[in-house]
Symmetry: C2
């Protein structure tokens, strides 16, 4: 069954917005058909199509189930917009497929780009969510200057300068993979020396992602994939 | 220093081909300048530019160093061409950045596409090699029917059907990460039931890549990234 992304209004009503309504029409779903919906917050709904409007679809909620997150950690990535927006876009698609909870776009000293197209990113995230069967849409936070971010929990960062670093797998062999995990990925021109010093001074753990120079979006995806792979949650099949 | 990809002719001569010659001209390198070259086989050369032709550049090899592979395993991925060629292309870029030794494109029962643009893939691989500082270009094998591939070594496969599977990290916690490692990734329509049965019957180990449905190129990259992350080789910085 094709899955749609819906906004849940109350226990009995939900609505598809413009993009999903267009999708519904492409698939030739008719009024009174039953469709499967997700809300990106763990909810899975079977809904009857009540009214297909020009840019919205009204739904009656028939059954719903709300799932809890199946992991014992919450992964938050911080990365700078890439010059070529496509690089962030494919990172997002792959990260949502694999599993990610939040992304904050950071503004750093060496950043050359200071904006992202959130509407487009949201569409990509929703599409990857539906395709992969993930139930939780990541939070996409607005662009924030690096020095205004002050996360709590396990904080890691990846940079390309020489310095004390621990392999990502090694790190989680000696530290528990649980709770809030924040990972800062160096931008295309890397973090500045001062930014790196500040992160060391703040007690952030510098991690190594191997011997080669990874592009910023590759480094970000590597982190997401490896941390998910290390998760002790057993696969359902 | 900008790196170029060269074909080494003998101990003293090397040559840049058309694409790299174009690149050299863009960077305004002149005759008698010294450039850094790699050959994708572990060789790193400093070369003097002798003659910049229309579609080739003759080089004099000044110094060369040949590096051995720094890993104790050889990773060979088998995957089917995706309908959208871009998906294989970005997989290749990211896999070369991270580290991969060989890719064989397979023809499977559910395959909808039976060719890839090798010339384009080679260009992408060379570009990723230079950008990332990797020294070994992966072998790109022609499209081969799945039933004509008979690898030796550790053989893993990933499919979406229900069946006995082991998590990728679990697998390498109980089996050594060394020697020839071959991984077969299900195509966009997954392997057929018969193909899956045959792989189980041949003793291939079915691996799980987590709970969500990964696209074929995401699954392939996940495998490459996680296996590299588990590698015991210590990072140089």
């Amino acid at each position: 069954m094709q899955t749609f992304f819906c906004a849940i209004l109350n226990d009995t009503s939900a609505q598809l917005k413009e993009e999903e309504t267009r999708h519904l029409k492409v698939l030739r779903v008719k009024e009174y058909d039953v469709i499967r919906c997700v809300d990106g917050l763990g909810g899975v709904f079977d809904c009857k199509v009540l009214k297909i409007g020009k840019d919205y679809t009204d739904l009656e909620v028939l059954t719903f189930e709300r799932f809890e997150r199946s992991k014992n950690f919450y992964l938050h990535l911080y990365l700078a917009p890439t010059k070529n927006a496509e690089r962030i876009e494919w990172f997002l698609e792959k990260a949502v497929e694999t599993g990610i909870d939040a992304i904050t776009f950071i503004d750093t000293e060496h950043a050359e780009k200071h904006r992202v197209n959130f509407q487009r990113l949201e569409r990509i995230a929703i599409s990857a969510l539906k395709q992969s069967g993930q139930l939780f849409l990541p939070l996409l936070n607005p662009i924030t200057p690096l020095n205004q971010v002050s996360p709590k929990g396990t904080i890691l960062f990846a940079h390309c300068e020489i310095g004390q670093k621990q392999g990502l797998v090694d790190y989680f062999n000696s530290n528990k993979l649980q709770g809030d995990i924040h990972v800062f990925i160096g931008p295309e021109g890397d973090f500045s020396k001062i930014e790196i010093q500040k992160m060391y001074a703040s007690g952030y753990a510098a991690i190594s992602l191997g011997n080669s120079r990874l592009r910023t979006e590759t480094a970000a995806l590597y982190t997401v994939m490896v941390i998910n792979a290390l998760s002790p949650i057993l696969p359902s099949s």
